[in-house]
């Protein structure tokens, strides 16, 4: 298998943009019509997912260890869609037919063999991970909403009972599918540390035009059933570093950090924690009372609410500005979650202030699902 040749041909294929995944799915659905119902009506996002995954695989070939981690997650993640081993073969055939189509006359037996080998490798890792997973876990967890609280116009808090018990580490997230929006899965972080009664909390922010977030905030009530995928994500509390902690949460980015905060309350020797909780306006600080209660119970915790605009008896301004204005955080472990822009802004400002990059942990949704 000639990696340089694969990369070269992929670069050419990629020049055709969205036509490539469009051709692939049309080819797949024509040859295997039974696969069509596994996908949502609109395939736009789906195609972008496929391209992202292909790019990750092709560019990750040089770092096989992390590529394997990525592919194993991808394989496990595909179980909830009902993907079977037979589907991998169908996908492989259509993928090769698509590549052949876009390579034109530069497609030959050698290149085809290279791509076939590469795909078999990828499919092998994914199916192996899926099979191992199958022995221990269901394809998806059945969730039932036990409480639905609309905290603000934009934010709802869902308490969900998952069956069987959902295993996860604070900071992780799961894909959730609402019966109102079949085959559309969105990732939400658990907002609590694992509980005795097996319930988890999700903080859902209504995204304008967001199909799933709208269903979960407005068209969901106690009793609604949800499907839940396996826990994923690498955001974890480092309990061994001995360093104090800085947490920066923008809006519902609070969820994974609150889960980790609960984890800290269970530690023998909790580190000092500063939690900055920011929102657009005072109304957006949807969980401030419970955070302040937590801070009142625990001396090691300081909660600093900030808003970007409007009336507020506290800090106003960009979250990154407020955090850095507090001074030197370079001896902390930092955990940041929220809107991409705010996360990147805060991370780079902290790094510029002398905080080693290895001590900055952000909510990482870097994987995707075809």
């Amino acid at each position: 298998m000639d990696v340089a040749r694969l990369k070269n041909s992929f670069a050419r294929i990629a020049m055709h943009g969205d036509e490539v995944p469009l051709h692939f799915y049309s080819d797949l659905f024509l040859k295997h019509p039974e696969t069509r119902p596994m996908f949502p009506v609109s395939m736009q996002a789906q195609r972008a997912h496929l391209v992202d995954a292909l790019v990750s695989v092709v560019s990750g070939v040089d770092d096989l260890d992390s590529l394997t981690v990525f592919l194993r997650d991808l394989g496990r993640g595909h179980r909830k869609f009902g993907t079977l081993a037979a589907h991998y073969e169908a996908v492989g055939d259509s993928l090769l037919a698509t590549f052949a189509h876009f390579c034109g006359d530069s497609w030959d037996a050698t290149l085809e063999a290279d791509w076939r080998d590469a795909y078999e490798l990828v499919a092998g890792v994914m199916t192996a991970a899926a099979q191992e997973d199958e022995e221990r876990y269901p394809a998806y967890w059945s969730g039932t909403v036990v409480a639905h609280e609309r905290r603000t116009f934009d934010v709802a808090i869902l308490t969900v009972h998952a069956e069987p018990r959902l295993e996860y580490a604070p900071g992780q997230s799961v894909a959730v599918e609402s019966p109102a929006r079949p085959r559309l899965w969105r990732y939400y972080s658990m907002a609590n540390a694992p509980r005795e009664d097996g319930t988890v909390e999700f903080h859902v922010r209504l995204v304008d035009g967001g199909a799933v977030s709208m269903a979960l905030t407005a068209a969901t009530a106690a009793g609604t059933g949800l499907r839940i995928g396996p826990a994923v994500g690498v955001l974890r509390l480092d309990t061994t570093s001995g360093r104090d902690v800085l947490m920066v949460a923008g809006s519902t980015g609070l969820a994974p950090l609150k889960s980790m905060l609960e984890q800290v309350t269970r530690l023998q020797q909790p580190p000092r924690v500063h939690l900055f909780f920011g929102a657009r306006d005072a109304d957006g600080l949807y969980d401030l009372p419970s955070l302040e209660k937590l801070a009142a119970e625990h001396l090691w915790l300081t909660v600093v609410p900030t808003v970007t605009r409007g009336r507020f008896a506290g800090h106003t301004g960009a979250l990154a500005d407020v955090v850095t204005s507090y001074g030197d955080w370079s001896d902390r472990d930092a955990y940041i979650a929220g809107p991409t822009e705010m996360v990147q802004d805060t991370a780079s400002r902290l790094a510029a202030g002398g905080l080693p990059v290895s001590q900055i942990h952000v909510e990482d949704f870097g994987w995707s699902e075809p």
Binding site: H16, S26, V41, S42, Q44, L184, R186, G210, P256
Partner: protein, 229 residues
């Protein structure tokens, strides 16, 4: 004719090159282009390049097909206008175009629901703002009256009302103030209830709208701004 003739082996400008291009910003105080229109133009150029590349590729395929057909005729193998592969590619194209149409419908519906939410939010902010203003006004008025009453009371301090007439006047004043406070409390309550009802109406409508929209397609996350909805 050698393979791959429409690709040049030399490094050429690709759509991705165009999309990834960045230029250093000008220093403050000097003239530079507004970034937004430049980005929009770059996006247009990128889309156009992809379109051209695809058009060129399908023309190339058409040329190859016709060439095969002519060669086939020359060698006595009578050309077939559409081979089995051609028919499949044709079907793929039709399905692709149908998919694009479906995507567009979903995107439109989603954009519409997005606009509805935005409007509802703006409407709610407006109602809340007005309510706040109104409440502030009522409060201020009540405080002014209370202050006036206090000042009046202070002025009479030490001089209890001597005559029946004076006593009656003070009692009347007190009764008036009590009624005033009751009426305003009532007024505020009704007003607040009305505001809440309006917001509830909006919520119900919005919920109905959310139920009626049949679709979906992905957006960024959840918390997942990082993948997008």
């Amino acid at each position: 004719m050698t393979t791959d003739a429409w690709y040049d082996e030399q490094r050429r400008l690709t759509p991705d090159d165009v999309r990834a291009v960045t230029f250093p910003l000008t220093r403050w105080g000097r003239h530079g282009y507004d970034e937004e229109p430049v980005r929009a133009f770059v996006a247009d150029v990128h889309a156009e390049m992809v379109r051209l590349i695809n058009e060129r590729a399908s023309l190339w395929q058409e040329v190859q097909r016709l060439r095969r057909r002519i060669l086939g005729k020359e060698t006595g193998n009578d050309g077939i206008l559409f081979g089995k592969d051609d028919a499949h590619i044709h079907a793929v194209r039709i399905l692709s175009s149908a998919q694009r149409t479906a995507d567009r419908y979903v995107a439109d519906a989603q954009a519409y629901s997005g606009r509805l939410t935005e409007e509802a939010r703006a409407r709610r902010d407006e109602i809340m703002g007005q309510a706040q203003q109104h409440a502030d006004m009522l409060l201020e008025e009540a405080q002014t009256r209370a202050r006036t009453a206090a000042v009046d009371a202070m002025n009479r301090d030490g001089l209890p009302p001597q005559t029946d007439h004076e006593r009656r006047a003070v009692q009347a004043e007190l009764a008036y103030l009590r009624t005033f406070s009751d009426v305003y409390r009532q007024h505020l309550r009704i007003y607040t209830e009305d505001v809440l009802r309006t917001i509830e109406d909006w919520e119900t409508k919005e919920r109905a709208a959310a139920r009626d929209i049949p679709l979906a397609s992905q957006h960024a996350p959840s918390i997942g701004w990082q993948h997008s909805s």
